[in-house]
Amino acid sequence: MEKLLEIDNLRVHFSTCAGEVQAVRGVSFSVGQGEAVALVGESGCGKSITALSVMGLIPSPPGRIVCGSVYFAGEDLVLKPEREMEKIRGKDISIIFQDPMTSLNPTMTAGNQIAEVLSRHSRESRDQIAARALELLKLVGISQPERRLRQYPHELSGGMRQRVMIAMALACRPRLLIADEPTTALDVTIQAQIMELLQELRGRTGTAVILITHDLAVVAGFAQRVMVMYAGKLVESGPTRDLFRSPLHPYTSGLLGSVPRLDSSGDKPLRSIAGRPPDLISPPRGCAFWPRCSMAMKICSLEEPEMTGDFTGHSAACWLMHPQAPGHRGVCEIGEK
Protein backbone atom coordinates (compact mmCIF):
# COMPACT_ATOMS: atom_id res chain seq x y z
CA MET A 1 0.00 0.00 0.00
CA GLU A 2 1.34 3.41 -0.93
CA LYS A 3 1.99 5.67 2.02
CA LEU A 4 -0.13 8.80 2.23
CA LEU A 5 1.00 10.10 5.59
CA GLU A 6 4.21 9.39 7.34
CA ILE A 7 4.98 10.84 10.72
CA ASP A 8 8.56 10.53 11.81
CA ASN A 9 9.80 11.06 15.35
CA LEU A 10 7.31 13.85 16.07
CA ARG A 11 7.82 15.74 19.31
CA VAL A 12 5.44 18.45 20.50
CA HIS A 13 5.97 20.45 23.64
CA PHE A 14 3.71 22.92 25.41
CA SER A 15 5.12 25.52 27.69
CA THR A 16 3.01 26.06 30.79
CA CYS A 17 3.71 27.96 33.96
CA ALA A 18 4.55 24.66 35.65
CA GLY A 19 7.13 23.79 33.02
CA GLU A 20 7.51 22.32 29.57
CA VAL A 21 4.91 19.61 28.98
CA GLN A 22 6.17 16.98 26.55
CA ALA A 23 2.81 16.14 25.05
CA VAL A 24 4.09 14.06 22.15
CA ARG A 25 7.46 12.38 22.63
CA GLY A 26 8.74 10.94 19.41
CA VAL A 27 5.80 9.39 17.59
CA SER A 28 6.33 7.66 14.26
CA PHE A 29 3.72 5.96 12.16
CA SER A 30 2.33 5.93 8.68
CA VAL A 31 -1.06 5.71 7.05
CA GLY A 32 -1.58 4.20 3.62
CA GLN A 33 -3.83 5.54 0.86
CA GLY A 34 -7.40 4.80 1.78
CA GLU A 35 -6.44 3.04 4.98
CA ALA A 36 -8.42 3.31 8.20
CA VAL A 37 -6.31 3.39 11.30
CA ALA A 38 -7.19 4.09 14.90
CA LEU A 39 -5.13 6.00 17.41
CA VAL A 40 -6.13 4.88 20.86
CA GLY A 41 -5.21 6.00 24.33
CA GLU A 42 -6.55 7.63 27.45
CA SER A 43 -7.04 11.39 27.80
CA GLY A 44 -3.85 13.38 27.70
CA CYS A 45 -1.77 10.72 25.97
CA GLY A 46 -1.06 13.04 23.05
CA LYS A 47 -3.34 11.56 20.42
CA SER A 48 -5.24 14.75 19.68
CA ILE A 49 -2.04 16.77 19.69
CA THR A 50 -0.61 14.39 17.12
CA ALA A 51 -3.69 15.00 14.98
CA LEU A 52 -3.46 18.77 15.35
CA SER A 53 0.21 18.60 14.33
CA VAL A 54 -0.80 16.94 11.10
CA MET A 55 -3.26 19.78 10.49
CA GLY A 56 -0.67 22.36 11.46
CA LEU A 57 -3.08 23.63 14.09
CA ILE A 58 -0.99 23.35 17.23
CA PRO A 59 -1.84 26.54 19.13
CA SER A 60 1.42 28.41 19.23
CA PRO A 61 2.31 29.73 21.72
CA PRO A 62 2.18 27.76 24.00
CA GLY A 63 2.70 24.72 21.79
CA ARG A 64 5.46 24.01 19.33
CA ILE A 65 6.73 21.14 17.26
CA VAL A 66 10.18 20.52 18.64
CA CYS A 67 11.35 18.07 16.05
CA GLY A 68 10.14 15.45 13.64
CA SER A 69 8.42 15.55 10.32
CA VAL A 70 4.96 14.94 8.95
CA TYR A 71 5.20 13.79 5.36
CA PHE A 72 1.95 14.07 3.48
CA ALA A 73 2.02 12.93 -0.13
CA GLY A 74 5.78 13.25 -0.04
CA GLU A 75 5.98 16.77 1.39
CA ASP A 76 6.94 17.71 4.92
CA LEU A 77 4.03 19.67 6.39
CA VAL A 78 6.05 20.81 9.39
CA LEU A 79 8.26 22.92 7.11
CA LYS A 80 5.39 24.28 5.02
CA PRO A 81 4.67 27.99 5.35
CA GLU A 82 1.29 28.89 6.81
CA ARG A 83 -0.08 30.06 3.45
CA GLU A 84 0.61 26.69 1.89
CA MET A 85 -0.93 24.90 4.87
CA GLU A 86 -4.12 26.91 4.45
CA LYS A 87 -4.51 25.44 0.97
CA ILE A 88 -4.13 21.91 2.32
CA ARG A 89 -6.40 22.25 5.34
CA GLY A 90 -9.98 21.40 4.58
CA LYS A 91 -9.02 20.31 1.07
CA ASP A 92 -6.50 17.47 1.25
CA ILE A 93 -6.62 16.86 4.97
CA SER A 94 -9.64 17.61 7.06
CA ILE A 95 -10.70 16.98 10.59
CA ILE A 96 -13.87 16.29 12.54
CA PHE A 97 -13.71 17.49 16.09
CA GLN A 98 -15.06 15.93 19.19
CA ASP A 99 -17.83 18.24 20.21
CA PRO A 100 -20.23 19.23 17.44
CA MET A 101 -22.08 21.48 19.89
CA THR A 102 -19.20 23.91 20.10
CA SER A 103 -17.33 23.23 16.87
CA LEU A 104 -19.90 24.92 14.66
CA ASN A 105 -20.27 28.67 14.52
CA PRO A 106 -23.57 29.51 16.27
CA THR A 107 -24.26 32.57 14.13
CA MET A 108 -23.90 30.93 10.72
CA THR A 109 -26.34 28.59 9.01
CA ALA A 110 -25.26 25.02 8.43
CA GLY A 111 -25.42 25.61 4.70
CA ASN A 112 -23.13 28.62 4.85
CA GLN A 113 -20.63 26.79 6.98
CA ILE A 114 -20.44 23.98 4.46
CA ALA A 115 -20.35 26.41 1.55
CA GLU A 116 -17.46 28.23 3.17
CA VAL A 117 -15.08 25.28 2.76
CA LEU A 118 -16.15 24.83 -0.83
CA SER A 119 -15.73 28.47 -1.76
CA ARG A 120 -12.35 28.56 -0.01
CA HIS A 121 -10.95 25.71 -2.08
CA SER A 122 -12.73 25.92 -5.41
CA ARG A 123 -13.66 28.47 -8.02
CA GLU A 124 -17.18 27.28 -8.52
CA SER A 125 -20.07 29.72 -8.77
CA ARG A 126 -22.40 30.44 -5.90
CA ASP A 127 -25.15 28.28 -7.34
CA GLN A 128 -22.82 25.37 -7.89
CA ILE A 129 -21.57 25.66 -4.33
CA ALA A 130 -25.10 25.80 -2.95
CA ALA A 131 -25.98 22.72 -4.95
CA ARG A 132 -22.87 20.95 -3.68
CA ALA A 133 -23.72 21.82 -0.07
CA LEU A 134 -27.15 20.30 -0.49
CA GLU A 135 -25.65 17.24 -2.10
CA LEU A 136 -23.26 16.86 0.83
CA LEU A 137 -26.07 17.05 3.36
CA LYS A 138 -27.85 14.32 1.45
CA LEU A 139 -24.64 12.31 1.42
CA VAL A 140 -24.35 12.41 5.21
CA GLY A 141 -27.93 11.30 5.53
CA ILE A 142 -29.60 14.28 7.13
CA SER A 143 -33.38 14.36 6.98
CA GLN A 144 -34.93 17.32 5.15
CA PRO A 145 -31.58 18.54 3.81
CA GLU A 146 -33.07 21.61 2.09
CA ARG A 147 -34.39 22.85 5.39
CA ARG A 148 -31.22 22.06 7.31
CA LEU A 149 -29.18 24.23 4.98
CA ARG A 150 -30.96 27.29 6.27
CA GLN A 151 -30.92 26.24 9.91
CA TYR A 152 -28.53 27.36 12.60
CA PRO A 153 -26.56 24.89 14.70
CA HIS A 154 -28.76 25.39 17.76
CA GLU A 155 -31.73 24.24 15.74
CA LEU A 156 -30.08 20.91 14.98
CA SER A 157 -29.63 17.87 17.21
CA GLY A 158 -26.19 16.67 18.27
CA GLY A 159 -26.15 13.88 15.73
CA MET A 160 -27.21 16.23 12.95
CA ARG A 161 -24.51 18.70 13.91
CA GLN A 162 -21.90 15.99 13.74
CA ARG A 163 -23.26 15.05 10.32
CA VAL A 164 -22.86 18.67 9.27
CA MET A 165 -19.27 18.56 10.54
CA ILE A 166 -18.70 15.42 8.50
CA ALA A 167 -20.23 17.05 5.43
CA MET A 168 -17.89 19.99 5.93
CA ALA A 169 -14.89 17.74 6.34
CA LEU A 170 -15.69 15.71 3.25
CA ALA A 171 -16.74 18.67 1.11
CA CYS A 172 -13.52 18.88 -0.88
CA ARG A 173 -12.99 15.11 -1.07
CA PRO A 174 -9.92 15.05 1.19
CA ARG A 175 -7.35 12.30 0.91
CA LEU A 176 -7.02 12.09 4.65
CA LEU A 177 -9.75 12.55 7.22
CA ILE A 178 -8.91 12.82 10.89
CA ALA A 179 -11.82 12.01 13.16
CA ASP A 180 -10.89 13.23 16.62
CA GLU A 181 -13.24 11.43 19.01
CA PRO A 182 -16.17 11.98 16.65
CA THR A 183 -18.69 10.19 18.82
CA THR A 184 -17.57 11.00 22.35
CA ALA A 185 -20.03 13.84 22.85
CA LEU A 186 -23.00 11.97 21.40
CA ASP A 187 -25.64 9.58 22.71
CA VAL A 188 -24.81 5.91 22.37
CA THR A 189 -27.42 5.24 19.70
CA ILE A 190 -26.23 8.21 17.69
CA GLN A 191 -22.63 7.07 18.15
CA ALA A 192 -23.33 3.89 16.26
CA GLN A 193 -25.07 5.81 13.48
CA ILE A 194 -22.17 8.21 13.08
CA MET A 195 -19.61 5.41 13.00
CA GLU A 196 -21.69 3.56 10.42
CA LEU A 197 -21.85 6.71 8.35
CA LEU A 198 -18.10 7.22 8.53
CA GLN A 199 -17.55 3.62 7.59
CA GLU A 200 -19.90 3.87 4.64
CA LEU A 201 -18.46 7.16 3.40
CA ARG A 202 -14.96 5.80 3.67
CA GLY A 203 -15.95 2.89 1.47
CA ARG A 204 -17.54 5.25 -1.01
CA THR A 205 -14.86 7.93 -1.19
CA GLY A 206 -11.71 5.94 -0.53
CA THR A 207 -10.51 8.54 1.96
CA ALA A 208 -7.88 7.44 4.43
CA VAL A 209 -9.10 7.91 7.99
CA ILE A 210 -7.31 8.33 11.28
CA LEU A 211 -9.83 7.65 14.00
CA ILE A 212 -8.79 9.02 17.34
CA THR A 213 -10.63 7.60 20.29
CA HIS A 214 -10.39 6.21 23.77
CA ASP A 215 -13.31 3.91 23.09
CA LEU A 216 -12.03 0.51 22.00
CA ALA A 217 -15.51 -0.65 21.09
CA VAL A 218 -15.64 2.00 18.38
CA VAL A 219 -12.33 0.87 16.95
CA ALA A 220 -13.11 -2.78 16.47
CA GLY A 221 -15.55 -2.45 13.62
CA PHE A 222 -13.85 0.41 11.89
CA ALA A 223 -10.10 0.39 11.74
CA GLN A 224 -7.82 -1.99 9.89
CA ARG A 225 -4.93 -1.09 12.10
CA VAL A 226 -4.72 0.18 15.67
CA MET A 227 -2.04 2.22 17.32
CA VAL A 228 -2.00 2.57 21.07
CA MET A 229 -0.51 5.67 22.61
CA TYR A 230 0.63 6.13 26.15
CA ALA A 231 2.25 9.19 27.69
CA GLY A 232 3.09 10.77 24.36
CA LYS A 233 4.47 7.66 22.71
CA LEU A 234 3.27 4.76 20.66
CA VAL A 235 3.39 1.62 22.74
CA GLU A 236 1.79 -0.84 20.41
CA SER A 237 0.56 -1.03 16.88
CA GLY A 238 -0.83 -3.82 14.78
CA PRO A 239 -3.68 -5.13 12.71
CA THR A 240 -6.90 -4.66 14.68
CA ARG A 241 -7.71 -8.37 14.93
CA ASP A 242 -4.28 -9.37 16.18
CA LEU A 243 -4.04 -6.54 18.61
CA PHE A 244 -7.43 -7.26 20.14
CA ARG A 245 -6.86 -11.01 20.25
CA SER A 246 -3.33 -11.01 21.57
CA PRO A 247 -2.13 -7.66 22.83
CA LEU A 248 1.61 -7.48 23.30
CA HIS A 249 1.93 -4.54 25.61
CA PRO A 250 0.66 -4.77 29.20
CA TYR A 251 -0.94 -1.37 28.78
CA THR A 252 -3.00 -2.60 25.84
CA SER A 253 -4.06 -5.66 27.79
CA GLY A 254 -5.03 -3.37 30.61
CA LEU A 255 -7.12 -1.21 28.28
CA LEU A 256 -8.85 -4.23 26.79
CA GLY A 257 -9.38 -5.65 30.26
CA SER A 258 -11.11 -2.53 31.47
CA VAL A 259 -13.79 -2.54 28.78
CA PRO A 260 -17.11 -3.46 30.40
CA ARG A 261 -18.53 -6.62 28.85
CA LEU A 262 -22.14 -7.56 28.41
CA ASP A 263 -21.46 -11.25 28.90
CA SER A 264 -19.63 -10.95 32.21
CA SER A 265 -21.56 -11.45 35.41
CA GLY A 266 -22.54 -8.27 37.17
CA ASP A 267 -20.95 -9.02 40.53
CA LYS A 268 -17.39 -8.71 39.25
CA PRO A 269 -16.07 -5.18 39.60
CA LEU A 270 -14.89 -3.46 36.45
CA ARG A 271 -11.16 -3.83 36.16
CA SER A 272 -9.00 -0.78 35.78
CA ILE A 273 -5.33 0.00 35.50
CA ALA A 274 -4.03 1.09 38.87
CA GLY A 275 -2.22 4.38 39.16
CA ARG A 276 -2.23 7.38 36.90
CA PRO A 277 -0.44 8.37 33.72
CA PRO A 278 2.90 10.01 34.40
CA ASP A 279 3.52 13.71 34.61
CA LEU A 280 4.71 14.74 31.19
CA ILE A 281 6.69 17.68 32.49
CA SER A 282 9.24 15.22 33.79
CA PRO A 283 8.41 11.83 32.28
CA PRO A 284 9.95 8.84 34.01
CA ARG A 285 13.12 7.29 32.76
CA GLY A 286 12.76 4.04 30.93
CA CYS A 287 9.32 2.86 29.93
CA ALA A 288 6.67 5.41 30.88
CA PHE A 289 4.28 2.67 31.90
CA TRP A 290 6.48 0.74 34.32
CA PRO A 291 5.19 2.37 37.54
CA ARG A 292 1.71 1.02 36.73
CA CYS A 293 2.80 -2.21 35.11
CA SER A 294 2.22 -5.50 36.88
CA MET A 295 4.94 -7.11 34.80
CA ALA A 296 7.61 -4.51 35.35
CA MET A 297 11.19 -5.69 35.46
CA LYS A 298 14.31 -3.93 36.53
CA ILE A 299 15.26 -2.95 33.01
CA CYS A 300 11.91 -1.18 32.49
CA SER A 301 12.78 1.61 34.89
CA LEU A 302 16.23 2.07 33.39
CA GLU A 303 15.96 1.97 29.67
CA GLU A 304 13.32 2.70 27.12
CA PRO A 305 12.14 -0.26 25.08
CA GLU A 306 12.23 0.03 21.30
CA MET A 307 9.32 -0.82 19.04
CA THR A 308 9.85 -4.44 18.10
CA GLY A 309 7.49 -6.57 16.12
CA ASP A 310 6.83 -9.62 14.06
CA PHE A 311 6.29 -10.10 10.37
CA THR A 312 2.54 -9.39 10.56
CA GLY A 313 3.20 -5.77 11.42
CA HIS A 314 2.17 -6.24 15.03
CA SER A 315 4.71 -4.51 17.23
CA ALA A 316 5.09 -3.08 20.69
CA ALA A 317 7.52 -1.09 22.75
CA CYS A 318 7.94 -3.38 25.73
CA TRP A 319 10.84 -5.25 27.28
CA LEU A 320 8.70 -8.38 27.42
CA MET A 321 9.17 -8.55 23.67
CA HIS A 322 12.86 -9.14 24.26
CA PRO A 323 13.87 -12.76 23.61
CA GLN A 324 15.49 -12.94 27.05
CA ALA A 325 12.41 -11.75 28.91
CA PRO A 326 10.68 -14.27 31.16
CA GLY A 327 7.39 -15.51 29.78
CA HIS A 328 8.26 -14.17 26.39
CA ARG A 329 5.15 -13.31 24.35
CA GLY A 330 2.82 -14.65 27.00
CA VAL A 331 1.78 -11.23 28.14
CA CYS A 332 -1.96 -11.36 27.97
CA GLU A 333 -2.46 -14.50 30.09
CA ILE A 334 -0.32 -13.17 32.88
CA GLY A 335 -1.90 -9.77 32.60
CA GLU A 336 -5.30 -11.20 33.44
CA LYS A 337 -4.56 -12.22 36.95
Partner: protein, 310 residues
Protein backbone atom coordinates in the same frame (compact mmCIF):
# COMPACT_ATOMS: atom_id res chain seq x y z
CA UNK B 1 -42.98 39.02 15.78
CA UNK B 2 -45.79 41.57 15.42
CA UNK B 3 -47.25 40.46 18.72
CA UNK B 4 -43.86 40.76 20.36
CA UNK B 5 -43.50 44.33 19.10
CA UNK B 6 -47.01 45.25 20.22
CA UNK B 7 -46.41 43.81 23.65
CA UNK B 8 -43.14 45.67 23.98
CA UNK B 9 -44.85 48.93 22.98
CA UNK B 10 -47.59 48.36 25.56
CA UNK B 11 -45.01 47.79 28.31
CA UNK B 12 -43.22 50.92 27.24
CA UNK B 13 -46.40 52.97 27.53
CA UNK B 14 -47.08 51.58 30.99
CA UNK B 15 -43.54 52.36 32.09
CA UNK B 16 -43.87 55.85 30.68
CA UNK B 17 -47.05 56.47 32.63
CA UNK B 18 -45.34 55.31 35.79
CA UNK B 19 -42.44 57.67 35.14
CA UNK B 20 -44.78 60.61 34.56
CA UNK B 21 -46.68 59.92 37.75
CA UNK B 22 -43.55 59.50 39.83
CA UNK B 23 -41.89 62.61 38.44
CA UNK B 24 -45.07 64.62 38.93
CA UNK B 25 -45.33 63.50 42.55
CA UNK B 26 -41.69 63.99 43.47
CA UNK B 27 -41.64 67.37 41.77
CA UNK B 28 -44.54 68.58 43.86
CA UNK B 29 -43.17 67.10 47.08
CA UNK B 30 -39.92 69.02 46.59
CA UNK B 31 -40.06 72.43 48.32
CA UNK B 32 -40.42 75.62 46.34
CA UNK B 33 -42.18 76.34 43.11
CA UNK B 34 -41.53 77.97 39.78
CA UNK B 35 -42.10 81.47 41.14
CA UNK B 36 -40.61 81.05 44.61
CA UNK B 37 -37.21 82.47 43.76
CA UNK B 38 -38.50 85.62 42.12
CA UNK B 39 -38.57 88.81 44.09
CA UNK B 40 -41.41 89.09 46.56
CA UNK B 41 -44.61 89.68 44.69
CA UNK B 42 -47.71 91.30 46.09
CA UNK B 43 -50.13 88.54 47.16
CA UNK B 44 -52.77 89.69 44.68
CA UNK B 45 -50.40 89.31 41.73
CA UNK B 46 -49.15 85.97 42.98
CA UNK B 47 -52.76 84.86 43.19
CA UNK B 48 -53.25 85.96 39.61
CA UNK B 49 -50.21 84.06 38.42
CA UNK B 50 -51.25 80.96 40.31
CA UNK B 51 -54.70 81.14 38.81
CA UNK B 52 -53.25 81.71 35.35
CA UNK B 53 -51.16 78.55 35.62
CA UNK B 54 -53.86 76.60 37.48
CA UNK B 55 -51.73 76.20 40.63
CA UNK B 56 -54.81 76.75 42.73
CA UNK B 57 -56.45 73.66 41.37
CA UNK B 58 -56.15 70.52 43.46
CA UNK B 59 -53.12 68.41 42.54
CA UNK B 60 -55.15 65.56 41.06
CA UNK B 61 -56.81 68.02 38.71
CA UNK B 62 -53.45 69.45 37.68
CA UNK B 63 -52.28 65.90 37.10
CA UNK B 64 -55.24 64.86 34.95
CA UNK B 65 -55.11 68.15 33.04
CA UNK B 66 -51.45 67.55 32.33
CA UNK B 67 -52.11 64.02 31.13
CA UNK B 68 -54.95 65.27 28.96
CA UNK B 69 -52.75 67.87 27.32
CA UNK B 70 -49.95 65.33 26.96
CA UNK B 71 -52.22 63.03 25.03
CA UNK B 72 -52.75 65.86 22.58
CA UNK B 73 -48.99 66.26 22.32
CA UNK B 74 -48.90 69.49 24.29
CA UNK B 75 -46.28 69.63 27.01
CA UNK B 76 -47.39 73.06 28.19
CA UNK B 77 -45.66 76.41 28.49
CA UNK B 78 -42.36 77.00 30.26
CA UNK B 79 -42.68 78.86 33.55
CA UNK B 80 -39.23 80.31 33.29
CA UNK B 81 -38.73 81.37 29.72
CA UNK B 82 -41.36 83.72 28.56
CA UNK B 83 -43.25 82.91 25.40
CA UNK B 84 -41.61 79.50 25.11
CA UNK B 85 -43.37 76.18 25.17
CA UNK B 86 -41.76 72.94 26.30
CA UNK B 87 -42.40 71.54 22.83
CA UNK B 88 -40.43 74.45 21.41
CA UNK B 89 -37.53 73.91 23.83
CA UNK B 90 -37.32 70.25 22.87
CA UNK B 91 -37.57 71.08 19.21
CA UNK B 92 -34.69 73.54 19.50
CA UNK B 93 -32.53 71.69 21.99
CA UNK B 94 -32.86 68.10 20.93
CA UNK B 95 -31.29 68.39 17.46
CA UNK B 96 -28.21 69.92 19.07
CA UNK B 97 -27.99 67.20 21.72
CA UNK B 98 -28.67 64.52 19.16
CA UNK B 99 -25.96 65.78 16.85
CA UNK B 100 -23.47 65.86 19.68
CA UNK B 101 -24.64 62.45 20.88
CA UNK B 102 -24.40 60.86 17.45
CA UNK B 103 -20.91 62.28 16.99
CA UNK B 104 -19.83 60.89 20.33
CA UNK B 105 -21.41 57.48 19.72
CA UNK B 106 -19.85 57.17 16.27
CA UNK B 107 -16.49 58.17 17.69
CA UNK B 108 -16.83 55.65 20.52
CA UNK B 109 -17.76 52.84 18.14
CA UNK B 110 -15.28 53.67 15.41
CA UNK B 111 -12.37 53.88 17.82
CA UNK B 112 -13.47 51.62 20.66
CA UNK B 113 -14.39 48.50 18.70
CA UNK B 114 -11.25 48.32 16.53
CA UNK B 115 -9.13 49.05 19.59
CA UNK B 116 -10.77 46.15 21.41
CA UNK B 117 -10.35 43.80 18.46
CA UNK B 118 -6.69 44.70 17.99
CA UNK B 119 -6.07 44.33 21.71
CA UNK B 120 -7.49 40.84 21.68
CA UNK B 121 -5.55 39.78 18.59
CA UNK B 122 -2.29 41.20 19.96
CA UNK B 123 -2.94 40.08 23.47
CA UNK B 124 -0.20 40.94 25.95
CA UNK B 125 1.84 42.79 23.39
CA UNK B 126 2.31 46.52 23.10
CA UNK B 127 -0.85 47.37 21.08
CA UNK B 128 -2.87 45.64 23.77
CA UNK B 129 -1.06 47.36 26.62
CA UNK B 130 -1.36 50.76 24.95
CA UNK B 131 -5.06 50.59 24.20
CA UNK B 132 -5.92 49.08 27.56
CA UNK B 133 -3.92 51.78 29.31
CA UNK B 134 -5.86 54.43 27.42
CA UNK B 135 -9.12 52.61 28.07
CA UNK B 136 -8.48 52.52 31.80
CA UNK B 137 -7.67 56.19 31.67
CA UNK B 138 -10.85 56.98 29.78
CA UNK B 139 -12.70 54.82 32.23
CA UNK B 140 -11.46 56.52 35.36
CA UNK B 141 -11.27 60.18 34.32
CA UNK B 142 -14.72 61.76 34.59
CA UNK B 143 -16.05 63.58 31.54
CA UNK B 144 -16.07 67.01 33.15
CA UNK B 145 -12.39 66.75 34.10
CA UNK B 146 -11.51 65.58 30.62
CA UNK B 147 -13.56 68.46 29.21
CA UNK B 148 -11.63 70.92 31.32
CA UNK B 149 -8.30 69.40 30.34
CA UNK B 150 -9.18 69.46 26.67
CA UNK B 151 -10.25 73.07 26.92
CA UNK B 152 -7.07 74.02 28.71
CA UNK B 153 -4.70 72.20 26.37
CA UNK B 154 -6.37 72.40 22.97
CA UNK B 155 -8.06 75.77 23.24
CA UNK B 156 -6.17 77.82 25.80
CA UNK B 157 -2.59 76.55 25.45
CA UNK B 158 -2.38 75.42 21.84
CA UNK B 159 -5.21 77.59 20.50
CA UNK B 160 -6.18 74.83 18.08
CA UNK B 161 -9.92 74.80 18.69
CA UNK B 162 -12.56 77.23 19.86
CA UNK B 163 -13.07 76.78 23.61
CA UNK B 164 -16.87 76.64 23.69
CA UNK B 165 -20.23 77.33 22.04
CA UNK B 166 -21.88 75.49 19.23
CA UNK B 167 -22.37 75.90 15.51
CA UNK B 168 -19.22 75.12 13.57
CA UNK B 169 -17.72 71.65 13.12
CA UNK B 170 -14.58 72.77 14.93
CA UNK B 171 -16.64 73.62 17.97
CA UNK B 172 -18.01 70.10 18.04
CA UNK B 173 -14.66 68.36 18.34
CA UNK B 174 -13.93 68.85 22.02
CA UNK B 175 -17.40 68.14 23.41
CA UNK B 176 -17.67 65.04 21.26
CA UNK B 177 -14.28 63.83 22.52
CA UNK B 178 -15.15 64.54 26.13
CA UNK B 179 -18.48 62.82 25.78
CA UNK B 180 -17.20 59.75 23.96
CA UNK B 181 -14.24 58.96 26.22
CA UNK B 182 -16.14 56.85 28.72
CA UNK B 183 -18.22 54.78 26.29
CA UNK B 184 -15.20 54.41 24.01
CA UNK B 185 -13.14 52.99 26.85
CA UNK B 186 -15.99 50.73 27.87
CA UNK B 187 -16.56 49.48 24.34
CA UNK B 188 -12.86 48.74 23.87
CA UNK B 189 -12.70 46.69 27.04
CA UNK B 190 -15.96 44.92 26.34
CA UNK B 191 -14.94 44.08 22.80
CA UNK B 192 -11.54 42.86 23.93
CA UNK B 193 -12.86 40.45 26.53
CA UNK B 194 -15.61 39.30 24.21
CA UNK B 195 -13.13 38.66 21.40
CA UNK B 196 -10.78 36.79 23.70
CA UNK B 197 -13.60 34.52 24.71
CA UNK B 198 -14.63 33.88 21.12
CA UNK B 199 -11.07 33.32 19.89
CA UNK B 200 -10.76 30.42 22.32
CA UNK B 201 -13.92 28.73 21.05
CA UNK B 202 -13.88 25.43 19.23
CA UNK B 203 -15.52 26.88 16.14
CA UNK B 204 -12.55 29.15 15.62
CA UNK B 205 -10.39 26.04 15.38
CA UNK B 206 -12.93 24.62 12.94
CA UNK B 207 -12.65 27.77 10.86
CA UNK B 208 -8.87 27.40 10.72
CA UNK B 209 -9.24 23.70 9.93
CA UNK B 210 -11.30 24.64 6.89
CA UNK B 211 -8.27 26.38 5.48
CA UNK B 212 -9.38 29.93 6.22
CA UNK B 213 -6.57 32.37 6.81
CA UNK B 214 -6.21 33.89 10.24
CA UNK B 215 -7.67 37.14 8.99
CA UNK B 216 -10.72 35.58 7.37
CA UNK B 217 -11.34 33.39 10.39
CA UNK B 218 -11.27 36.44 12.64
CA UNK B 219 -13.49 38.53 10.42
CA UNK B 220 -16.09 35.98 9.48
CA UNK B 221 -16.26 33.96 12.62
CA UNK B 222 -14.90 35.87 15.57
CA UNK B 223 -16.10 39.44 15.16
CA UNK B 224 -19.72 38.63 14.51
CA UNK B 225 -19.90 36.37 17.54
CA UNK B 226 -17.97 38.75 19.72
CA UNK B 227 -20.13 41.72 18.85
CA UNK B 228 -23.39 40.44 20.31
CA UNK B 229 -22.71 41.44 23.93
CA UNK B 230 -21.54 44.79 22.59
CA UNK B 231 -24.84 45.33 20.78
CA UNK B 232 -26.74 44.72 23.97
CA UNK B 233 -24.65 47.41 25.58
CA UNK B 234 -25.58 49.96 22.92
CA UNK B 235 -28.90 50.75 24.63
CA UNK B 236 -27.06 51.63 27.81
CA UNK B 237 -24.49 53.47 25.74
CA UNK B 238 -27.15 55.86 24.47
CA UNK B 239 -28.23 56.52 28.05
CA UNK B 240 -24.62 57.11 29.12
CA UNK B 241 -24.15 59.56 26.28
CA UNK B 242 -27.25 61.53 27.20
CA UNK B 243 -26.59 61.77 30.89
CA UNK B 244 -23.02 62.67 30.05
CA UNK B 245 -24.25 65.35 27.71
CA UNK B 246 -25.99 67.19 30.59
CA UNK B 247 -22.56 67.91 32.02
CA UNK B 248 -20.67 68.43 28.80
CA UNK B 249 -23.29 70.77 27.37
CA UNK B 250 -23.08 72.90 30.48
CA UNK B 251 -19.28 73.06 30.36
CA UNK B 252 -19.07 73.95 26.69
CA UNK B 253 -22.13 76.26 26.80
CA UNK B 254 -23.91 74.23 24.17
CA UNK B 255 -27.61 75.05 23.79
CA UNK B 256 -28.68 71.42 23.90
CA UNK B 257 -31.58 69.82 25.66
CA UNK B 258 -29.40 68.66 28.54
CA UNK B 259 -28.56 72.20 29.49
CA UNK B 260 -32.21 73.24 29.62
CA UNK B 261 -32.98 70.15 31.61
CA UNK B 262 -30.38 70.83 34.29
CA UNK B 263 -31.41 74.47 34.51
CA UNK B 264 -35.11 73.60 34.74
CA UNK B 265 -34.60 71.57 37.91
CA UNK B 266 -33.03 74.49 39.74
CA UNK B 267 -35.76 76.78 38.47
CA UNK B 268 -38.56 74.38 39.46
CA UNK B 269 -39.74 74.84 35.91
CA UNK B 270 -42.35 72.12 36.37
CA UNK B 271 -43.45 71.70 32.79
CA UNK B 272 -39.89 71.60 31.44
CA UNK B 273 -38.81 69.04 34.04
CA UNK B 274 -41.78 66.83 33.25
CA UNK B 275 -41.67 67.34 29.52
CA UNK B 276 -37.99 66.66 29.10
CA UNK B 277 -38.12 63.68 31.48
CA UNK B 278 -40.93 62.17 29.46
CA UNK B 279 -39.10 62.86 26.27
CA UNK B 280 -35.85 61.29 27.46
CA UNK B 281 -37.61 58.32 28.96
CA UNK B 282 -39.52 57.64 25.77
CA UNK B 283 -36.40 58.12 23.71
CA UNK B 284 -34.28 55.73 25.79
CA UNK B 285 -36.99 53.10 25.84
CA UNK B 286 -37.27 53.34 22.10
CA UNK B 287 -33.50 52.97 21.74
CA UNK B 288 -33.44 49.90 23.95
CA UNK B 289 -36.26 48.46 21.94
CA UNK B 290 -34.42 49.04 18.68
CA UNK B 291 -31.29 47.47 20.14
CA UNK B 292 -33.27 44.39 21.11
CA UNK B 293 -34.61 44.19 17.59
CA UNK B 294 -31.10 44.53 16.16
CA UNK B 295 -29.93 41.81 18.51
CA UNK B 296 -32.45 39.43 17.06
CA UNK B 297 -31.10 40.00 13.60
CA UNK B 298 -27.50 39.46 14.61
CA UNK B 299 -27.81 36.47 16.90
CA UNK B 300 -30.05 33.74 15.50
CA UNK B 301 -30.31 32.10 18.93
CA UNK B 302 -32.23 35.08 20.23
CA UNK B 303 -34.75 34.64 17.45
CA UNK B 304 -35.51 31.14 18.59
CA UNK B 305 -36.13 32.15 22.18
CA UNK B 306 -38.44 34.85 20.95
CA UNK B 307 -40.37 32.51 18.71
CA UNK B 308 -41.04 30.20 21.63
CA UNK B 309 -42.15 33.11 23.74
CA UNK B 310 -44.62 34.56 21.28
Amino acid sequence: MARYILRRLATMLAALWLIITLTFTIMHIAPGGPFASEKKLPPAILDNINARYHFNDPLWKQYTDYLGNLLQGDLGPSFKYENRTVNGIIKDGFPVSATLGCLAISLAILVGLPAGIISALRRNRWPDYLSMFLANLGFSVPGFILAGLLMYVLAYRLDLLPPAMWGTPRQAVMPALALSALPMAFLARLMRSSMLEVLGQDYMRTARAKGLSERLAVWRHAVRNAITPVISYLGTLVATIFTGSFVVENIFAIPGLGRYYVASIGDRDYTVILGVTIFYAAFLMLMNFLVDLAYMFIDPRVRLVDRKEV
